[in-house]
């Protein structure tokens, strides 16, 4: 394998470890992003999927 490929694989591994180190709520938000990206494709294949509704934050008045 070329040095460039090794570098790319190592970078990918590092990114996966960074993702694994996120907090649980951050990971849940990432999962919802993944749902948003994949749901249209899955629906085209006939699969019924629902993107999760994220918790609504109540913001203080401006």
């Amino acid at each position: 394998m070329s040095a460039e490929m090794n570098r790319l694989i190592a970078a990918k591994e590092q990114r996966r470890h960074r993702l694994a180190a996120m907090t649980f709520p951050e990971k849940v938000r990432a999962v919802v992003k993944l749902q948003e990206m994949t749901a249209p494709l899955l629906r085209k294949q006939g699969r019924q999927v629902r993107v999760w509704a994220m918790d609504r934050k109540i913001l203080p008045p401006a």
Binding site: E13, R16, H17, L19, A20, M22, F24, P25, K27, V28, A30, V31, L34, Q35, T38, A39, Q48, V49, R50, V51, W52, A53, M54, D55
Partner: protein, 165 residues
């Protein structure tokens, strides 16, 4: 998600379910990179009915009374499809008993331990479970001694070894 967990906590507090913990892909996500899933798998210990049968009906009824409707094999709770899975094996009973207590934002939650999630994957044995075990081994901080002990006690050591070779 936080609202969903509040509902689960209330169900436990009200005795509708004995104990719950998150498992499946979302349980795994607690320990590794985010994994795509559309269901929140929740393992539950249910109170035994008068007939001695363990059934999800009282739980579903309690959720209907709170305004949450069934959707396929899940119940939609605060925008999240939750699949309730009654514990059906010694491994799951142990996993639920020893689940990890955590906070999601400000809300208490319980997640199965990584070592138990691995053992459950080995017991379930699908291709995606095998892939998930690999992900756990690459990314999660594991108590290797607990993992070995759990696999050995539940007769899963040989299968696990065959998976990781």
């Amino acid at each position: 998600m936080e609202q969903t967990l509040k509902v689960l906590n209330a169900l436990e507090r009200d005795g509708v379910l004995g104990r719950y913990a998150i498992g499946g892909a979302m349980g795994a996500t607690f320990y590794v990179e985010p994994l795509l899933t559309f269901d929140l798998d929740v393992f539950v210990l249910l109170p035994q009915s008068d007939s001695g049968l363990i059934t999800l009906s009282p739980l579903y009824e309690a959720l209907r009374e709170r305004g949450y409707q069934e959707e396929a094999e899940c119940v939609l709770i605060e925008g999240v499809p939750v699949q309730f899975l009654p514990v059906y094996s010694a491994l799951l009973e142990e996993a639920l008993r020893e689940a990890h207590e955590t906070l999601y934002e400000q809300t208490p939650a319980r997640v199965l331990r990584a070592e138990h999630l691995i053992a459950i994957c080995v017991q379930t044995g699908r291709d995606k479970d095998r892939q998930r075990v690999r992900t756990f081994l690459e990314q999660a901080s594991l108590d290797r001694s607990l993992l070995a002990d759990t696999l050995q006690r539940h007769g899963l050591e040989a299968k696990f070894q065959s998976w990781i070779q």
